[in-house]
Symmetry: C2
Subunit: 220 residues, 2 copies
DNA sequence: TTATTATTGTATCGATCACTATTCAATTCA
DNA sequence: TGAATTGAATAGTGATCGATACAATAATAA
């Protein structure tokens, strides 16, 4: 007899009573995330999802709830995988400048990875949308806002640590780099190459504010 | 008797024989453009459009063809209005730097105009989409590519005129500024203020390449 | 075994999608 | 005036949308 169960909190197990599920949750989320990433929320139908997962609709609904619930879970699923590296860089010990350099170049690489959809699943998602998709739009917008806040917090730290001049407008600077990565995502969707994205990442980094001591007019 | 006709090429007029049309073409395009702009292509239904125009579906189809045709025409309609100012700036006599400054600040103003949808109708449109929307995606992608090409051409001119150093990577530089305006559009959709967009436009302009004579390391 | 429970598989549900066949009304031309 | 022409208005088309009702199936519990 094969024991199948799910560990929940301290060795406590729950044995399933009824017929076992055909659909593995993580596999389903991988499939869903890929489709949503590629086609967007409105562009992905339940039929697309069930076909790709190889299960009938009731299985999908039993496992994930509604289409919106599935989208939310797929976002969480992918975010954990995609945000890990740059989040550690941003919140780690390297300088804010180096962290942003890593952030942009890492994004360039991820946005053009051959075995994934182009661009970012979140950055350009549900910007234009039907009224009935408002709640989903707010969902992704909140994630974008979280990213912006994370970067601003790092810049605030850089000001506190003296890397950036006191009085630096960290809101605007954070928004600038989010705008850059957001535009990079869009350009990746339009087919921009890794090389192009890396070049413009460097251009964006050249806008890094100089310490006050070294500030001067560029053109005499 | 009231004469109603359409002037076509040199005073030649066409008198309509049948029942006059209820739907004015330009009014319909204004309505359609606004809806597509706000909700995107997939997020706007024919029912939305006919209701907003106040005409039944057959009138819409008689005037504009298909939904995709209408989208294309609405794009043309809006593009003429929205692109005029910055296109003249880019192709006019002012320096490439000043033209880009105008371009970005004009975009910031247009993307946050209170009586229009936020952001740009084209820049963030149909990036993620269903397979059946592929032709529409290519339509807007081609428009974005045209904008990119226009800016690159201006930078090439700036190199030829000596404003930019010989050997400047105009492709990457053009892509950078397109990325910035594209990200600005996305941030505008997310609610960024005019002031914020203008600030980050200035940051983006600070990445403008210095003439070779004045180039130096920013941090010792 | 028998009962209980949960999930699968099938066949949808009503609503909405883009789109149109048909009929009626309004205009011009002869 | 009457015929021809053209668009409006009604009422749909089949397809697809997200989501489910229902019954057969497969597991555990008693």
């Amino acid at each position: 007899m094969i024991f199948i169960g799910i560990d929940i909190k301290m060795n406590k197990t729950i044995r399933k009573r009824g017929r076992p599920r055909l659909l593995d949750r993580d596999v389903g989320l991988d499939v869903a995330a890929r489709l949503f990433w590629e086609r967007g929320y409105e562009g992905t139908s339940i039929a697309d999802l069930t076909e790709a997962m190889g299960v009938p609709p009731p299985s999908l609904y039993a496992t994930f709830g509604s289409k919106e619930d599935l989208y939310r879970q797929a976002l969480d699923h992918i975010s954990q995988r995609e945000n890990k590296a740059w989040l550690e860089a941003i919140q780690g010990k390297m300088s804010a400048h180096d962290a942003m350099a890593f952030f942009l170049h890492d994004a360039a690489a991820r946005f053009t990875c051959p075995d994934k959809p182009r661009g970012c699943m979140v950055l350009n998602a549900v910007l234009q949308h039907a009224e009935k998709t408002e709640s989903v739009a707010q969902l992704v917008a909140a994630r974008r806002a979280l990213g912006l806040q994370t970067i601003k917090a790092r810049f605030d730290r850089a000001v506190a640590e003296g890397e950036l001049a006191p009085g630096t407008d960290t809101d605007a600077l954070a928004c600038f780099y989010v705008v850059v990565v957001q535009g990079m995502s869009a350009q990746a969707c339009d087919g921009a190459s890794l090389a192009t994205l890396k070049q413009l990442a460097d251009i964006a980094l050249s806008a890094w504010p100089m310490p006050a001591a070294h500030r001067q007019k560029a053109i005499p």
